[in-house]
């Protein structure tokens, strides 16, 4: 019996030993840069210190900054090169880059936010700005402008406006962008249809699309995607999508939405715009109908023209959205993305310094080559323009043009806006399949959207 017990114990000890061994093995690959959690903890103690105090420290001691962004191969390569240059100019600052594809980027950030472990600098999107600012996750950058770390002398206010919430700057625009209509000039020539001139109306647009459909027939569509941006349509009517405090819709008359949906629904029923199953077959920007020569138009954002031109392998042009007869200006300059400094950062001054470098350094911007959109500094724009390819030049030209048809951007969307957006998409699907009338859909939209937004009431 004693022997049996001895055996059991030895088995147990063997297991314990194996477990310990395996744990030891697995710990081994722990490498550099595993100090984030400590950094986050220390950060809270440092919050009280003033920006100026931090700055004086940053000149001497060695600092490590974490920067997160999403993008594709081109952006990663260029940004990493620019970072190298920054490190060369600032030997005391080491930057650890945490880049990802679009897939998973926001999920990772929200997890890190929950763990109080956000990187020092994060690439921000306009749609998420308010969510992050309202939870106190982004640092106010005004003190760094005052102290001169951030220099916006060559930057027009309209480029910065998108990064402001309640007057304070929380995010620095990395490239100007704007909603735009891409078109294929060769197709206009082939069809003998005159190109649309800025100031054209929604009716002009529908007629042109119809003409194209008549001319080219089957498997061809006057416009590739339907239901494009109700927000702009509203702005041209002098209304806004959300009310000023984000607790409800900003327009009172459902007529706007009914007209807008009727407009697109009619084009859809006539077969002028691409039907739902065709749109759903599109597998990415590079697969849009305009690339395949199956539609003359695509509503999208101006920075996407670079990739679109490359995919189509022929010149494409940009023009503004249609307007209402005697209506208001509807377009706006929109930051394609921002850099923000998080409140988890231990070295906000060094982070601000990096953003300044990204904005103002000519050499760095030659490397970055306007890949994130049109640079906000006029000095940089001048230097960069001659080096650009066709698509890039078209994008620069458009950003100049659109300023004549713009008014300031609406404040960042309130919390719940992703839910409201999804609601709109679902109703549009029902319209596409003829399951609902525009009138009923508009009523339902108002009811459900108001319910979602009501939660924002304090």
């Amino acid at each position: 019996m004693a022997m049996r017990v001895g055996k059991a114990v030895s088995v147990f000890l063997t297991i314990l030993f194996l477990v310990t061994l395996s744990v030891g093995c697995a710990i081994a690959p722990k490498m550099e840069g595993s100090t984030d959690s400590q950094a986050a903890e220390q950060n809270s103690e440092n919050k009280g210190e003033s920006a100026a105090n931090n700055e004086s420290r940053s000149s001497g001691e060695n600092i490590e900054l974490r920067i997160a962004w999403w993008g594709s191969q081109d952006r990663h390569d260029r940004t990493l090169k620019a970072i190298e240059l920054f490190e060369k100019n600032n030997p005391n600052i080491k930057i650890s880059a945490e880049f990802l594809g679009w897939d998973g980027y926001w999920q990772k950030l929200s997890t890190q936010a929950a763990g109080k472990n956000l990187p020092d600098i994060i690439q921000m999107d306009y749609a998420y700005l308010n969510e992050y600012v309202s939870r106190g996750l982004l640092a106010d950058l005004e003190p760094y402008i005052k102290s001169g770390v951030l220099n916006f002398n060559d930057v027009d206010e309209m480029y910065l406006a998108g990064g402001r919430v309640d007057g304070k700057l929380y995010a620095v625009n990395l490239g100007a962008n704007s909603p735009a209509l891409a078109y294929d000039p060769a197709m206009f020539e082939k069809a003998g249809i005159p190109e649309l001139q800025p100031g054209y109306t929604w009716e002009d647009f529908a007629d042109t699309a119809r003409k194209f459909k008549e001319k080219f027939g089957k498997d061809f569509y006057g416009v590739g995607r339907t239901y494009n941006d109700f927000g702009i349509y509203l702005r041209e009517k002098g209304a806004t999508f959300y009310n000023s405090d984000g607790t409800g819709l900003g327009y009172d008359d459902d007529r706007y939405l009914i007209d807008y949906w009727t407009y697109w629904n009619k084009l859809e029923k006539e077969g002028v715009s691409a039907p739902f199953e065709v749109v759903q077959s599109i597998k990415g920007l590079e697969d849009e109908l305009i690339v395949h020569g199956k539609s003359p138009f695509l509503f999208f954002h101006s920075n996407q023209i670079v990739a679109l031109t490359k995919a189509a392998n022929r010149p494409l042009k940009l023009t503004i959205f249609p307007s209402h007869d005697g209506g208001d200006k509807g377009l706006f300059l929109k930051p394609s993305q921002f850099f923000s400094v998080t409140t988890h950062s231990k070295h906000p001054d060094a982070a601000a310094k990096f953003i300044d470098f990204f904005t103002n350094d000519t050499e760095a911007n030659m490397i970055l080559a306007g890949e994130r959109g049109v640079p906000i500094s006029s000095k940089i724009r001048e230097a960069l323009l001659p080096t650009l390819d066709e698509g890039g030049k078209e994008m620069f030209k458009y950003i100049e043009l659109v300023q004549n048809y713009s008014k300031p951007i609406d404040p960042p969307a309130p919390p719940g806006s992703t839910e409201v957006g999804a609601l709109m998409t679902r109703l549009q699907e029902q319209l596409s399949f003829g399951q609902i009338t525009p009138e009923k859909a508009a009523k339902q939209f108002r009811e459900e959207a108001e319910k979602i937004l009501r939660k924002n009431k304090k």
Binding site: V23, G33, S72, F99, T111, V291
Partner: protein, 279 residues
């Protein structure tokens, strides 16, 4: 039906159907070799107009100074560690549940099963905070160590079912020969479980290799990241996606899985000669 006719009809049926099975991989390989502009313009075709090997070169280069060799090395280390850990813990635990009696066994088994019924999305954040508190974020520990302590309930349950299929007379014979409980596990049950162990190895390899959420959440430093993350770094639907390199690296990322399966499955062919052991 004679055996030759049977063999021919087998091969005919299986090969025709096999084409359906092969289609996704053929399409992915074809896309990886197409010039970038052709991937969508000529999407239905399985034959590239010209072979664009440059997609592979460009993809392999990766991002800045970090090439795909880094991602492949990391994935290989993590995956191998997890497979070893899973085999180790799964077989021990399964033997315990299937063959031994102890207090609260049924209750603990119920706990084991219930853990896989909760969608991982909602335990993700508490788990992240836990691993962060013990300083494991930005290391491989959250990905590898759990395999050694418990692994996946899926595998444990699988092994339990297999062990319960092994005749108990064999254990008793071993006891008479003076085997300890561990001896029965090691010398009798484990060898008879080879097909199940192979299955566990193949699955845990594939799942770990393909896992996106774990590496995404826990690994910050790009030098520590895996192939599954690397593949996504090519794609940004809001501006531009490097389709060619992405397809090229997707093909390469399938290779190890392919090889592992091809290598391990042959042990399923040979199986083990249970004949004769019994009695």
């Amino acid at each position: 039906m004679n055996s030759a006719a049977r063999s021919i009809s087998f091969h005919f049926f299986v090969a025709v159907f096999g084409l359906f099975m092969l289609y996704p991989i053929l399409w992915t390989i074809a896309s990886s070799l197409k010039p970038e502009s052709e991937i969508f313009l000529n999407a239905a075709s399985l034959i590239p107009s010209s072979l664009e090997w440059n997609n592979y070169a460009k993809g392999w280069q990766g991002f800045g100074t970090i090439g795909f060799n880094v991602f492949f090395r990391n994935s290989a280390i993590i995956t191998t560690t997890v497979v070893v850990g899973t085999l180790f813990s799964t077989s021990l635990v399964a033997f315990g549940f299937a063959r031994l009696t102890f207090r609260f066994r049924s209750a603990l088994f119920a706990c084991l099963l219930v853990t896989i019924m909760l969608p991982a999305q909602v335990t993700l954040i508490p788990q992240y905070i836990l691993f962060q508190k013990i300083g494991w974020v930005n290391t491989w520990n959250p990905l590898t160590i759990p395999a050694f302590i418990g692994g996946s309930p899926f595998f444990i349950f699988l092994m339990i079912q297999f062990i319960r299929g092994i005749p108990r007379e064999l254990d008793e014979a071993a006891v008479i020969d003076g085997c300890s409980t561990f001896g029965i596990f090691w010398r009798v049950v484990l060898p008879l479980c080879t097909p199940a162990l192979i299955t566990v190895a193949i699955f845990s390899f594939y799942w770990t290799w393909d896992d996106f959420m774990g590496p995404l959440i826990y690994l910050n430093n790009v030098k520590l990241q895996t192939v599954s993350l690397g593949l996504r770094m090519f794609a940004d639907p809001s501006s531009v996606t490097a389709w060619g390199p992405m397809f090229a690296m997707s093909v390469l990322s399938l290779l190890p899985q392919f090889i592992v399966f091809l290598f391990f499955q042959k042990y399923l062919v040979e199986g083990i000669a249970t004949t004769g052991i019994k009695g």
